[in-house]
Symmetry: C2
Subunit: 479 residues, 2 copies
C-alpha cells in the first residue's frame, strides 16, 4: 500500500506550487508534521541534507577562524530587555517558560529566538582588554519563534540554525567580518547547493532588530518569489553599550567593542527544494546529495546481476553510492530515486553485463547515457558527470534568476509587472519607509535588498512617490 501511494504522481509544479512543495516534502520523506502544533519532525532524508550543509559550512567557518561554543536555551526576561529595539522585535514572538518542576519561576524566561543577549552577557564577563579581542564564535542550535502560519522548513515555530556572534576592537574589523560571512554563505550556496543569490543590504525597515546594518543573500524560487537565505548583521557598539561590554584599548582607555552576528537556517533546505525540484520530486545538487548514485539491478534474480551491481558499487567507492536490492519493481525504484532527488541512477541488467556497459540516467535532465564498465572506466565518467550536473543546475537556476528580474520606472509599471510576471523588480527608491509600506500594502512585494552588484540607477525618481531617488532596490514577493 505504501508503495502505491509513493508512485502516485505529485501535484504539478506549475499547477499549484504550494501544494507541489508540500507533496515533495512529504513524499521524499524530508519532514513531517509533528503532534506539536507549528513544529516539524525533520526525517532522516531531510536531516541528512542538514548534516551535509552543516559540515560544509562549519568547515568554511573554521577556515575563517571561527570557534564553536554553546550558550543556554533560556533567556531571563530582564536580560532580553536590555536592548530596546531587539526586545521590541522579538518579544511578541517568543515562547515563555514560567514554571520549573512544580514551582513558578521567580523570573520568567523565554526560549531563545536568537542569542545576541546571551552572547553579550558572556562577552561582558570575558572581555577585558584588547588582547581578548576578537572572539569569532558560532553555535549550532535550535531556536523558537511563535509563528502563526507555518510551513515545513520555510517557517516553523522551531528551526535549526547556526548563529555566529563576533566581537571586535574596531568598527572596520566588524564591518569586514559582516561582509566576509555573507560571502561565505553565498559561496556555499553557489558551490555546494548550486543556488545563485543576490547579495545586498537590507533597508532600515527590513533590518534585524538592534542592528546598524543587515546584509542578506536572496535566492529566487521557481515560482519567482524570494527566499531570504542567510543574513549577516553589523551591530556597531549598540549592544556593547546596552550590555556594558568594555575593554581597555591599546591606549588604556575603556572602549566599547563592535559586534556582528550572522545566521543560516534549515530554511535553506526549502530553497534547495524550490529552486531545483521538478514534477517528479526533489532534485539534489550532487555535492549535497546524501546518495549521489543509486545502482538499480535489472532482472536482479538472473545469475550475475547482483554481483555486477556490487562490483559497480565497489568501483565507485569514495562516492556516496547505494544499491537498491529491495524486492520492489525497477519502475518503482526509478520513481523513488526521482522523488528523492538522487543525482544519478545506474541501471545494470543481463544485457548490459553482456555488452560491458551500464545505463546512467541523470536526475536533473532525464538524459540517458551508456557507460563502459571496463576496469577503471566508470568512476571518472561518473565523477565528471556529477561535476557537469552541478554546473548545469547552477546555470539553469542562474538563467531563471537573470531572466526573471524586471525593471520598473513608474508605479503603474511596477504594479503591472508584479501582478503579471513572477520574479523580482528593480526600481528606484527615495529612502522613506512610507514608500516601502505603501508598496507592500498595494502589491505584497517587499524590498529584498539594495544590491551590491547591478545597482546602477535606472531613473532619478522613487518608483512610488516620485521624489528624488536614493537607491536602486530589488523588490519581490517573498517566503
Amino acid at each position: 500500500m505504501a508503495e502505491v501511494k509513493k508512485l502516485d504522481a505529485i501535484t504539478a509544479r506549475d499547477e499549484d506550487f504550494a501544494k507541489w512543495y508540500t507533496d515533495v516534502v512529504k513524499r521524499a520523506e524530508l519532514a513531517d508534521y509533528a503532534g506539536v502544533k507549528g513544529c516539524m519532525v525533520i526525517r532522516a532524508a531531510g536531516y541528512a541534507l542538514w548534516e551535509n550543509i552543516q559540515a560544509e559550512l562549519d568547515r568554511r567557518f573554521k577556515e575563517t577562524g571561527t570557534e564553536n561554543v554553546y550558550l543556554p536555551l533560556l533567556i531571563p526576561e530582564s536580560l532580553l530587555q536590555k536592548e530596546k529595539d531587539h526586545v521590541e522585535g522579538f518579544a511578541p514572538e517568543v515562547a515563555w517558560v514560567t514554571h520549573g518542576g512544580n514551582e513558578p519561576l521567580e523570573e520568567r524566561m523565554c526560549v531563545r529566538p536568537t542569542s545576541e543577549t546571551l552572547f553579550c552577557d558572556f562577552y561582558h564577563n570575558i572581555i577585558h582588554s584588547y588582547r581578548d579581542l576578537p572572539k569569532i564564535y558560532n553555535q549550532w542550535c535550535s531556536v523558537v519563534r511563535w509563528e502563526k502560519t507555518t510551513r515545513p522548513f520555510l517557517r516553523s515555530r522551531e528551526f535549526l540554525w547556526q548563529e555566529g556572534h563576533t566581537i571586535h576592537e574596531t568598527a572596520e574589523e566588524a564591518q569586514e567580518r559582516t561582509i566576509q560571512m555573507l560571502n561565505v554563505y553565498a559561496d556555499m550556496c553557489e558551490e555546494f547547493l548550486a543556488i545563485p543569490t543576490i547579495k545586498g543590504q537590507k533597508t532600515d525597515k527590513e533590518k534585524f532588530a538592534g542592528a546598524v546594518s543587515t546584509y542578506t543573500m536572496e535566492a529566487m524560487m521557481h515560482d519567482g518569489k524570494a527566499l531570504q537565505s542567510g543574513t549577516s548583521h553589523n551591530f556597531g557598539d549598540g549592544f556593547a553599550r546596552a550590555y556594558d561590554i568594555k575593554f581597555a584599548g591599546r591606549d588604556n582607555e575603556l572602549t566599547y567593542p563592535h559586534q556582528t552576528s550572522w545566521g543560516l537556517s534549515t530554511r535553506i533546505i526549502g530553497a534547495v527544494i524550490m529552486v531545483h525540484g521538478d514534477d517528479n520530486g526533489l532534485v539534489l545538487p550532487p555535492k549535497l546529495a546524501p546518495t549521489q548514485v543509486v545502482i538499480i539491478p535489472i532482472q536482479q534474480k538472473k545469475a550475475g546481476v547482483m554481483e555486477a551491481a556490487a562490483r559497480l558499487k565497489e568501483e565507485l567507492s569514495g562516492l556516496r553510492v547505494k544499491v537498491d536490492d529491495s524486492d520492489k519493481s525497477p519502475g518503482f525504484k526509478f520513481a523513488e530515486q526521482e522523488m528523492r532527488g538522487f543525482p544519478l541512477r545506474v541501471e545494470i541488467g543481463p544485457r548490459d553485463i553482456e555488452n560491458g556497459t551500464c545505463v546512467v540516467v541523470r536526475r536533473d535532465t532525464g538524459e540517458k547515457l551508456t557507460a563502459s564498465t571496463a576496469d577503471g572506466k566508470l568512476k571518472p565518467f561518473i565523477e565528471e558527470l556529477l561535476k557537469t550536473i552541478h554546473k548545469d543546475m547552477y546555470e539553469r537556476a542562474k538563467r531563471h534568476l537573470d531572466e526573471s528580474i524586471y525593471e520598473a520606472r513608474s508605479y503603474d509599471e511596477f504594479k503591472d509587472t508584479i501582478e503579471k510576471k513572477p520574479g523580482f523588480i528593480k526600481a528606484m527608491w527615495c529612502g522613506e519607509t512610507a514608500c516601502e509600506e505603501k508598496i507592500k500594502e498595494d502589491t505584497t512585494a517587499t524590498s529584498r535588498c539594495i544590491p551590491f552588484e547591478g545597482g546602477e540607477p535606472i531613473s532619478d525618481t522613487c518608483v512610488c512617490c516620485g521624489k528624488k531617488a536614493r537607491h536602486l532596490v530589488i523588490w519581490g514577493k517573498a517566503y
Copy 2:
C-alpha cells in the same frame, strides 16, 4: 593580569576534589556559569571536546545503521502523560512553556527532558507494517531538567546529548540493540577517551522511568566516586501500548513493536576531567585532544627559531598541532599547555636547532624526551608516543579502578569500607528495593549495577538484610 591569574596554582586534587574540579573547568576555559541560573556556557575549549566526541560516536552509530533525525523541543502535556511511569519520573523536573508570544497556550508544553514520547508519536504515524521496521534513529540535541543543585558538565539544567530511539519487530532484536549500543559507548570510552567502565544492569529502583531494563556503564573518578556515563534502555512493548503503535506482522496480525533508547551526554566531559586530570590541570587523551601537540619556540626572537618551529609543524601535518608564538614567556606557555591538557609539548630553541633535536614533554607523566628533527624522523616518533600515552592513560585509569573495588560480606564491613576507602564495593543483594534504600540512607552509596563481568557470588546472603542473596551488585557513591 589575566596571565598572572592563569599561572596561579589551582586547588590540589587530593585537598579538595570538588574545588579542584571547578578550578580546572574554569582555568582550562571549558565552561563558565551563565547569567541563567543552573545553566552553563560551554566555552570553545569545552565545545571542541564535545565536537570530537560527537564525531567519533556519530561515526560509530552510523556503522551500526543509525540515521539522524530531529524532533521538536516542546512536548504537549497530554503527550507526555500517556506513559504513566515515564511521566511520574520526569514531570517533577521539567520546565513548562505556558505562553507563546503574548498569549497563553491552550495546552502547556514542557521543554523536552528526553524524547521517548515524541518518538512514539512519530512512530505511531510512520509504522504500519513489518516492512517499516526496524527504525534506528538518533538525535543530537539539548534537553532541560530542572535540577536544584548544579555543577558544570555533571549536572546542569540544560545539557547536550544524543538520544537514540529504535523500534523493532521482535523482543530479541530490541534486546540485542540495547546491548549493542551499550557496547558502542563502552568501546568509545576505552578506545577514544582512555576511560575504563564497568558494564551492567541497573536494579529496578535505578532504571529509567518506563523501561523494562536499563543497562549502564559506570566509570570511576579519581576520588573513587562513580559517574554513570551512558545508559541503554529496553522498553519492551510498553511505550508502544501506551502510544498505540501497531504494525501488521508477517502473519498479517496487528502487533506491538519493541523499543529501545540510549543516551550519552556532555557529562562524559566531566568524566574525562575527573578520571585523567591532575594538579596541573586537564590531561586529555590524545585521540580526543583538539590540539595534540603544542610547539613552543624558546628564545623565539633569535634568528631561525620561528622558522624551525614552523618547519616542525609542517612535518607533523596530519596531526593536530599548534605553534604558540604569542609574546608570553615560555614558562607561562608551559603552564598553559599543562592546564589545557594538550598531550605533548615540543620545545625548540637555538641549542636544539644546533643539535638537530627538539625536546618533547609528555603531559600525562611530565617525562622529557629528546627527539631527532632530521627529515621524516619526528612524525613517526610523535605518532608512536601519542599511542603510548593513550595506552598508559587507559592502564593507569584501569589500575585505579581495579584497585579501588572492595568486597563486603557483612553490613559492618560495608559501612566501614565505604567510610574509609574511596571506591566501589562488591556486595550481595537480596533484590529488595528496601535494602537499597537503607544502604543509601545509611551510607549515601547507591547500587551502580549488576555487572556483566565479575559478578560471581561472594556469599549467600544480602549484605544488608541477611536474607538469601540474588545478585552481586557494585555499590558506590556517585555524581
